[in-house]
Point group: C2
Chain length 659, copies 2
């Protein structure tokens, strides 16, 4: 048995070693010519500078919480919390650093062949995916081993992960969208220069944004989901299956890491010595291999360790549901609804916006029904532990699913570098092709992320009721109902703050870009360089200033609610936040995705193509969708879980003090 307790540490280490190997594989490729390296260097510098500033603010809060936890509840939990946040920060920083080195290498690889570019971009993403999964598992596994499965310490670790995630998502999300909106509104719309044109002063900021938002932000996000799901499954597992139940989620994820490694290797071998390749097929193949192997492993583990086949069924169900949710997401953001949206853009921006919101709202229906079915079946098979385990199953192969997610911004950045370094046009065409593939293959990952977020939220809610000794949470009590009502309001308030922040930072950016176009002589003719760094610093300041308050909302609301109405109301609040938050998150993500792709569909030459009336309308839709899908939407999922974990950690402490 003892050896099983070490599984998190062992497989975490295996993952880390593999990641190091993969990093060298990426770095051994040529970073391209001097101009490319210069551009890539500027993106790297901007991205690192932002992360460091972000971490400085974050660590003030981390240290305050660390000391408070230590003084009030002992240093074991405090140290776990510190480790959880620090490993998340490390994963984000390291993964993003490699991603910003992979972009120029991808651009250079694309000169040679499509498959070379694909390989580098994917491996760059895989470094991110494997770093997140390995460090997440290693850290939580370490706590598990050292404290002998103490759920209180593990909850501290999970809280550290969630706190970092919310800051990274909100801060990164504001940065990336302020830069994007600023670059597009003035550069593309007003000055009429193409995307990623080096004359656009916001172009470096825009590329930095892809890295701090879509790579580092997403990494921290999934680190949090990963850790949260393992923690909640372990905490619920011990109640049913004792030690075996507690360690089981670690074993599932260990198998997942091993399978992800194999999937990544298979992907690389399948590209060997091939110039012509179907990127989408290759990416899918790797994912299927990884999930298939994980399932096999889980079947074995279920029968050996828990002596029942039910865990296998539950995880299998979780994977199926995750994949279907992914297909639904893909349907609403890439299939016939997009053509319908593009068609309504012909009548103008307003019909397009109305239809897009309708699409986003409608897209909540089937995922919610699927999540409900998964919950009910899992619950009937294995109780609350089953629900948590289904969530773990969706994230077990995170190493490879996150790789595909992170691959997108790397390919996108490679395209930007190709454009700015004025490489031949076929290179840009290849990177565009790589980018397009990433958008659709990422659907499975999104489905897993949405599904596991909802299931984990439910599992965390169950853990909250256990740690506070609430056997019943009676909705017919008015304070519980009120808790749900206030909780339901929070995702709206939170989204409002995030979107406002994007709007305000984007406005300052617009003015700065306009100023530079007007004041810098010879800029439009390409004779003078714009001041990239001022745009980076505007986005940085805007993001850092505005990320703190919404993040603290998640930390303080459970505490405030506890003092005013008590622990049962906190439970009501968590349910309210989950209920309205899940809908709002799916709505925002899919409406944003649908507008984005409707624009791309028109740009492919449909309904008048680029420059047409419909295209102008679609640019408006895309811009509105940006903070939806990349700032507010994804952050809500973290908000839900951070509030749950804060409640799990803090409310029992408050109950001890004030009783």
């Amino acid at each position: 048995m003892h050896i099983l307790n070490l599984s998190g540490i062992i497989f975490g280490l295996i993952g880390i070693i593999f990641t190091v190997f993969l990093t060298f594989k990426v770095l051994e490729n040529s970073p391209g010519n001097e101009k490319m390296q210069k551009i890539s260097g500027a993106i790297q510098m901007g991205a690192r500078a932002f992360l460091i500033s972000e971490y400085k603010i974050l660590y003030v809060i981390v240290l305050i919480i660390f000391v408070l936890l230590g003084l009030i509840n002992g240093w074991k939990m405090a140290l776990s919390f510190f480790l959880g946040s620090t490993l998340s920060v490390s994963a984000g920083f390291f993964g993003m650093s490699i991603a910003t080195k992979a972009n120029t290498r991808t651009a250079h690889g694309a000169i040679e062949s499509l498959s070379k570019g694909l390989k580098i971009a994917f491996n760059g993403g895989a470094v991110m995916g494997m770093t997140v999964a390995s460090l997440g598992l290693f850290g939580l596994g370490l706590i598990f081993y050292l404290t002998n499965g103490d759920t209180v310490s593990m909850s501290g670790y999970a809280m550290g992960a969630s706190l970092v995630a919310l800051f990274a998502r909100v801060g990164g999300g504001i940065f990336t969208k302020a830069a994007d909106v600023g670059a597009d509104l003035v550069g593309k719309t007003e000055a009429g220069i193409p995307e990623d044109d080096p004359r656009n002063p916001a172009v470096i900021a825009d590329n930095v944004g892809d890295n701090v938002g879509d790579v580092a932000g997403m990494g921290a996000d999934l680190y949090e989901s990963f850790v949260g799901s393992i923690f909640s499954a372990s905490a619920l597992g011990v109640l049913v299956y004792d030690k075996e139940g507690a360690v089981f989620p670690f074993l599932v994820v260990s198998i997942g890491i091993l399978s992800a490694i194999i999937g990544i290797l298979v992907f690389n071998f399948s590209l060997k010595n091939k110039d012509d390749v179907d990127p989408s097929k290759a990416l899918h193949f790797g994912t299927y291999i990884a999930n298939g192997l994980t399932l096999l492993g889980v079947l074995f583990l279920s029968l050996m360790i828990l002596k029942t086949i039910n865990p296998f069924f539950v995880i299998f169900l979780g994977m199926i549901v995750g994949m279907i949710i992914g297909s639904i997401t893909e349907y609403y953001t890439a299939k016939s609804p997009i053509k319908h949206l593009a068609n309504s853009a012909v009548s103008g921006a307003a019909p397009l916006l109305i239809s897009g919101m309708a699409v986003g709202m409608e897209s909540t229906a089937i995922p919610v029904v699927l999540i409900s079915i998964a919950t009910i079946i899992s619950y009937n098979l294995l109780g609350l532990f089953g629900i948590a385990l289904a969530g773990v199953g969706m994230l077990a192969t995170l190493g490879i699913t996150l790789a595909i997610d992170a691959y997108g911004p790397i390919a996108d950045n490679a395209g930007g570098i190709a454009q700015m370094a004025e490489l031949e046009s076929y290179v840009r065409e290849r990177t565009d092709q790589l980018d397009a593939v990433g958008n659709t293959t990422a659907a499975i990952g999104k489905g897993f992320a949405i599904g596991s977020a909802a299931l984990t939220a439910l599992a965390l809610f169950a853990s909250y009721t256990k740690v506070t000794g609430l056997n019943i949470i009676d909705l017919s009590k008015s304070q519980v109902f009120i808790g749900a009502l206030v909780g339901g309001m929070l995702p709206f308030l939170f989204s409002s703050m995030a979107m406002k922040a994007v709007g305000e930072a984007a406005e300052i950016m617009v003015q700065e870009v306009r100023r530079q176009f007007k004041e810098i002589v010879g800029l439009m003719e390409g004779k003078a360089d714009p001041d990239y760094s001022s745009c980076v610093s505007i986005a940085t300041k805007g993001a850092l200033k505005k990320m703190v308050f919404p993040s603290l909302l998640a930390v303080f609301m459970p505490i405030i609610m506890f003092f005013i109405l008590g622990k049962e109301s906190v439970a009501g609040m968590l349910v309210g936040t989950t209920v309205s938050g899940v809908m709002l998150a799916i709505f925002m993500a899919n409406a944003g995705g649908a507008w984005d792709n409707a624009k791309k569909y028109i740009e492919e030459g449909n309904f008048g193509g680029k420059g047409s009336f419909a295209h102008k309308a679609s640019v408006i839709g895309d811009t509105v969708g940006d903070p939806f899908k990349d700032t507010a939407g994804p952050a809500i999922n973290i908000l839900i879980k951070l509030m749950s974990i804060v409640s799990i950690v803090v409310i029992p402490i408050l109950m001890k003090i004030f009783k």
Copy 2:
């Protein structure tokens, strides 16, 4: 005691008599010249034709339910249901008929003086307000008296009212916005002709829409709220204070009707022989008088009937909270946020839309907190009965608050008639002034409507738990949580369907208006008449076809949920729908209102005024906001309550059958 049971019938009749008197007062004014009468006649005809077609479809469903209820649960409840729906239909039809007669009289009155126009428009609205309040009270009072306060029969009556309300809101909402968007997109934006220009083929449909949506739809909506709040308070009152508790809400509303009559009379006297008048002051004065008198009456009733002052406190609190919510609504849709929005329109449509959604989402926060405070205090003073009573207090003076609401579209229509009949420009200026006042004074009414909807939903939820014998609804059971999740999804799905319907009908309308502009020779020169009726019929068909499915969703979802997961999950579902529905309704209403007023603010000459870049952006915002604030948003409040009432009525029946 027996005489008290008659109060609903007696004061309902008094209200009806006063309404007849008021109707004659309105009709004794001149309907203006022949052209005005012709236009008003066309609006009346279109509006009536729509309502009659709508009722035909509605009555198929009403009759099916009537027969089913009768066969399964006896004819007492079935007849109550039939009476509830039929009186709602009658109130909507009669009130709207008078409103469509008041519009041309208002336009003619405005030729003479502002105060004359004000008086006619207000009295026209007051006919609507008093019809709704009197018929609502009379009908429910009749059932109460005849069945000796049988809550089962009363729930049937309330279900009839809710069913009609949802159909009227959804159908009317789709009609009005399809016509509005169609008229604006082609007429104002493409052809560049002013609003309400007689050359616009959709102009009559647009004015018809104001009546079927904003007058008849809103009337049915508030009829439902009024009846629902009295029913739930009575059903909960009898549990605490026996017969006295059951009749108490009827007494409060009776006092309210009397006070509203006095308020309306005071308003009329205050205008007597005055040409120069501050319309906003006059309207506010009447409302304050009515609310003040109601409070005095409630103080007396509380001490005399229930021998405690708590009901007075609860209703006082309800009124205060309603007024503050109204001010918050006004703040977000008319004060500094509007200027900020108009400012962001300078950067384009996308920033305006992002900021507008942020404003709408933020605006959910304070109302939810206020509703929570009102709930907690009311609950502590009087239990669940207190919560319901606070809701009743907000609607007690419905006769006058709805008058101010319905006054708006009458003034709006009067302006349209003035424009189309080519009256002198000062007349249009006066009607515009009347219209503007209506928009701000309606805020109090909106606050009451939002607040009472939430409180009534809570009270209905409590009633559901009583009738199904659920002493505890345990959120920690996964089927309850799942119920909440699915319930939370429904308002999103419902809104999606409503907005899609508007989008599709508007698109057909746009094509028809474009066709007429192109094919009818001499139309733009004013030498030939457009075909108004084809536009009216497009909006009618679009609305009727699309209103059925979303409405049935509300009826069938509780039943489906009961069969799949049982009665406790239905309770979870009701909470989920309330939680996400309240937020979505406030968000949509206020974002829509904010965009509307930002456009008006720019049209007043700010940020470049009419025709500027900012103005074009603001038109897009306004158009997106239209289905938000006039179709989906208000219908969600009814959805919440209809689902609750269907559950109250149907689930106990199903429990009897399937046990």
